[in-house]
């Protein structure tokens, strides 16, 4: 996984609650095994019904065409578990999402891909939103995971909280499978104990013999 230390980029305000993965990455955009993840991000909102670009959508505005940080509301990433909703962010160089809260599976998918999910306390979130809107894409913000700060125009640095383990994993770009495989002996031991105690869980067999 690509490590995350710090990221500087234009902060895009998409201030809405409950933005779901059907909005972020519609399933209809996944027409082949390797879709254009850059294009699929917010594909529907980006276009009008006639297929032309929707100039009102924030990511289509000239100052937000090369975003780095997405700023949004409550429960971001609700809905499907599809990881393309995270890959679409990375393909657009969005490596930080600042939200009031995240849907569980979406947040896990972020952590798996070196995308930093930040949750600010409500008061700070409101203040940061106002700064992002005021900056209007003219000046970038910097998010530094080592110091756990967001810095940029319009005010002092903002400190954010993140679980120490999540921070380490992102900073070091840890190989998640590799980390788990250091416990291979534990897994083997678990399987042996389970095979003795509840053998039906350690075997899956069609009793009809097919």
């Amino acid at each position: 996984m690509q490590p995350f230390k710090s990221h500087t980029g234009i902060a895009v305000p998409l201030i809405k609650d409950d933005i779901n993965t059907d909005q972020i990455a519609p399933v209809q955009a996944m027409r082949n095994l390797k879709p254009d993840y850059k294009q699929l991000l917010f594909m529907r909102a980006r276009k009008r019904d006639d297929g032309s670009e929707n100039p009102d959508f924030v990511l289509n505005k000239p100052q937000f065409r090369n975003p780095g940080i997405l700023v949004t509301g409550q429960n971001f990433g609700a809905g499907s578990s599809r990881e393309s909703a995270v890959w679409g962010m990375l393909a657009n160089n969005i490596r930080v999402i600042v939200a009031k809260s995240f849907a569980d599976i979406y947040r896990e998918n972020c952590l798996q891909n070196g995308l930093l999910p930040i949750v600010l306390a409500p008061a700070e979130a409101g203040a940061f939103e106002r700064r992002v809107i005021a900056a209007n894409g003219a000046t970038p913000f910097t998010v530094d995971l080592e110091t756990q700060t967001i810095s940029g125009p319009g005010g002092p640095d903002i400190t954010f909280e993140i679980a120490a383990a999540d921070r380490t994993r992102l900073l070091e770009g840890l190989d998640d499978i590799g980390l788990t495989l250091t416990h291979t002996e534990d897994i083997v031991a678990f399987e042996q104990e389970m095979a003795a105690a509840q053998p039906w869980l350690q075997t899956a067999r069609d009793s009809r013999g097919s």
Partner: protein, 474 residues
């Protein structure tokens, strides 16, 4: 110390705690589908890592399959590369595929329980947010992304943070034509689309005990629509009776041994939950969504809520939903003309769901101009329904009768509505554009959907049925 059933299942599957504090939870059964598994196969192969337990892993072709009779890989051209990559990846890794043409193919969340791959107290993972459907049998299931799916393939564990526990007690007797779907929609309306975030939910209470297993699965299926990490119903005699004899369950002496263990799967009386809720279901009426998220729900006799009476934080979403859905605050839903009806999905396409819909449809016809479709949850459900003649009931009435798959729920197979259409759907998400660009989706039970199909508008199925019996008595 007293424990909740969630804690018992979790602790019984805890392999180790990783250096980063995440707990490694052993996954007893891992069920894949073709929309996401091919990417995981590819990434594992690049890393040179084998699948640890192909014998505990199953591959289902469901998201992209065509529902047309006589279908092949290319009936939905966009699905073909997924189906092939799934088939080939599964073969290379020694994983059993429930492929097109397999008599037991179907939606993963329907097939795994009906074959008895799901067992009480077992852990499950599926790269799909509706994984917890199988919680209806007392299994603890987690939906996951593609990278986590590769992790499970390589290690047979998930690295998780322990969720909090919630209990929702459902009391009272459900009225006529009120089902688990209606109960679940009501819960989501009460708790909101993020009300379950971070929680594993145990559904308890007399109303749950009275629900047949298929309805318990519908209840647990919709748990994710309030953001729940997982949801389940503690197993009971009904669970064990439902499972007995299913082909992948333990047999003979091992069944008896398993049963003795399963009988212990209960939350302790004095266990504490991080959150508790209670809902009296006795006065609940059939529910239907009016808006664009699964919490925007009302009883069938109610009117579209007025933004003036809503919490401030919900108002913007409501205004936008009125516009998208073409509904007015204060207007009744009953009587709104519909263009299409879809009966299917992991939420509501098991045999009793189709029976409930057929009971409404029998002797009636799909209203002029309405396109109506039934897609059974599995090929086995389809066969059983045909043995009971349900396909004739639907076809004679003017419904299309499809081959099994996810179909119009997410539209991954090309089945979708036309722009501007109003659809009553037995699925789980009424998000904008999900069932097609600008399609307006109303979520409801199979009986309510069937009533809309035959009347051509949103209808209180209880009144439709009452009208029939009045005529019958005359």
């Amino acid at each position: 110390m007293p424990k909740t059933l969630f804690e018992k299942i979790w602790d019984a599957h805890l392999v180790a705690t990783r250096i980063d504090g995440r707990e490694l939870i052993y996954i007893d059964r891992h069920v894949l589908h073709e929309l996401h598994a091919p990417h995981a196969f590819e990434s594992l192969e690049k890393q040179g890592r084998p699948v640890r337990r192909p014998d505990l892993t199953f591959s289902m072709q469901d998201h992209t399959v065509s529902t047309r009779p006589g279908r092949t890989d290319t009936s939905n051209p966009d699905g073909a590369p997924f189906l092939r990559a799934m088939r080939e990846g599964s073969r290379r890794n020694g994983i059993r595929v429930f492929d097109l043409g397999d008599p037991e193919q179907g939606i993963s969340h329907v097939v795994a329980p009906e074959l008895g791959m799901v067992l009480p107290g077992a852990t499950h993972a599926v790269p799909d947010s509706h994984a917890s459907t199988v919680g209806g049998l007392g299994a603890l299931a987690f939906g996951c992304g593609t990278t986590e799916l590769a992790h499970i393939l390589a290690t047979q564990v998930m690295a998780l943070k322990r969720p909090k526990s919630m209990r929702i007690r459902l009391d009272g007797r459900l009225g006529a034509q009120v089902t688990a779907k209606d109960v679940a929609l009501k819960i989501i309306a009460e708790l909101g689309v993020a009300g379950g975030r971070g929680f594993v939910v145990e559904y308890a209470g007399s109303a749950v005990r009275a629900m047949p297993i298929e309805q318990r699965m519908t209840l647990c299926n919709l748990n994710i629509e309030m953001g729940g990490r997982s949801g389940f119903v503690g197993p009971d005699d009904a669970t064990f009776a439902w499972l007995k004899g299913r082909p992948w369950t333990p047999q003979g002496a091992q069944w008896d041994q398993a049963l003795a263990q399963w009988r212990k799967l209960k939350s302790d009386d004095d266990a504490t939950f991080d959150q508790e809720h209670r809902l009296d279901c006795s006065s609940l009426e059939p529910q239907i969504s009016w808006g664009t998220d699964p919490s925007q729900v009302v009883g069938i006799s109610e009117r579209v809520p007025d933004v003036a009476n809503a919490r401030a934080s919900r108002r913007a979403a409501m205004e936008s939903a009125y516009d998208y859905m073409g509904v007015a605050p204060g207007a009744p839903l009953v009587g709104l003309p519909v263009n299409r009806v879809f009966i299917g999905s992991c939420t509501n396409a098991r045999l009793p769901d189709l029976e409930a819909a057929a009971a409404v449809v029998r002797g009636r016809r799909v209203a002029d101009g309405v396109i109506a479709m039934v897609v059974p949850g599995s090929s086995s459900v389809k066969r059983q329904a045909e043995e009971k003649g349900l396909d004739r009931v639907f076809r004679d009435a003017g419904f299309a009768w499809g081959e099994s798959g996810c179909s119009m729920c997410a539209g991954g197979n090309g089945d979708r509505g036309e722009p501007g259409e109003r659809i009553v759907s037995t699925t789980n998400r009424n998000f904008e554009n999900r069932q097609g660009p600008r399609v307006r989706t109303h979520l409801a039970s199979p009986a309510t959907a069937a009533a809309a199909a035959v009347t051509g508008c949103i209808t209180d199925v209880r009144q439709l049925i009452a009208g029939q019996s009045l005529t019958g008595n005359a």
